[in-house]
Symmetry: C2
Subunit: 220 residues, 2 copies
């Protein structure tokens, strides 16, 4: 290779560059960003409602909701008391960093401590796109079945915490917890896991404590 030819190494995708900008914006406002991903109907919105009601007013929450269509989720987050923005992806199966950038531009981050980003309901596409949030959380649910880690490994590999929702339905569903946990452990060893029921409230305190701890220690 000639020494005179400039070589540009493109080490980041455009999405990742914008994600880095989103992260810087969150950091400078001291807002902890959490990307919440799940299959359709796993209970992302119910969990977010519960979280808003439990953590406010000690922590001020914002929610950015991604959906193909409708504003059902942002309406519910706003009704629960959070600053909420709905992003309709117009068919796209995931949020990307530009969508989050546009969402952040609509929010007053100075009065916020914790931003929950509710991604599009999908176990495949969202895992491929960095948003710039600090943590990624996957919400699984009992009725989805115990084989999901084996069938959607990319999603289970990339997250920092796992919530297993709808534990109240365990008596009515064939769900082999050992088989499920084994699949998770292969993909993401030692992953912190919170079995919860957003219906009964069981197990949610541990999730709230995890969020509070992360928010408290984020900026030293």
């Amino acid at each position: 290779m000639s020494a005179n030819i400039p070589v540009i190494e493109s080490i980041m995708s455009a999405n990742d560059q914008i994600a880095m900008g989103n992260r810087a914006k969150l950091d400078s406002a001291k807002v902890l960003g959490v990307n919440m991903m799940a299959s359709p109907g796993a209970g992302k919105t119910s969990l977010i409602e519960r979280t808003i009601k439990a953590l406010q007013p000690e922590l001020k929450l914002g929610v950015i909701d991604g959906d193909v269509a409708s504003s059902i989720d942002a309406d519910r987050a706003a009704a629960a008391g959070a600053a909420a923005v709905q992003i309709n992806t117009g068919g796209a199966c995931h949020l990307d960093a530009i969508m989050l950038q546009n969402g952040l531009a609509q929010m007053d981050l100075q009065v916020m401590d914790l931003l929950l980003v509710e991604n599009v309901g999908n176990l495949i596409c969202p895992s491929g796109f960095q948003l710039g949030t600090h943590y990624s959380v996957l919400i699984a649910s009992i009725p989805e079945g115990d084989d999901k880690p084996y069938k959607y490994p990319g999603m289970y590999k990339g997250v920092d915490a796992l919530i297993i929702n709808k534990t109240d339905l365990l008596p009515y569903i064939d769900f082999d917890t050992d088989y499920f946990r084994q699949g998770v452990e292969i993909l993401n060893p030692g992953l912190i896991t919170f079995p919860v029921s957003c219906k009964t409230g069981e197990g949610l305190d541990a999730w709230f404590a995890w969020l509070q701890e992360k928010a408290a220690f984020a900026w030293g």
Copy 2:
């Protein structure tokens, strides 16, 4: 525009052209193809198992299973007695016509009456890709929640039949059937709907009868 310049109108995508070839192949072998789509964990595989056991040996069934990873679903279909092929999409969030073409090449269509294509678990991406099958069926499930038609309109618009699975869980879940059906009716007026439980077997006979009727009348 000059009369001398040839204008090529690309009226079909490459995917649609291959889908047309798949359809011709199914038609010439007199195999009815059904594209089965659903959210992860809605019960596609359980429904297919039930269908194989109910319709064989009067109808000979084949199953092509699409998943990001694993062969869990094809193993289950084969164990239930169908000719089965697993397609791993390697990350892609849907099947496309080329994948089905490759799957069909692995099957003996001459000894088959009905081919069930189990798409990747996803309420967004699969609706955008024609495969060449004769019918598209969506499997919804009670635990997913009653707001799904409003949030995933593209999927609900494009199907020929709707199965509502896991009706056995209705006593334990807040699911407003009227709200759900209203959303479906707006998007897909008059859509034929089968409320079923693959666990108890309730409602499945109507679904089996629909398939049998379609298979019987497909080639006159």
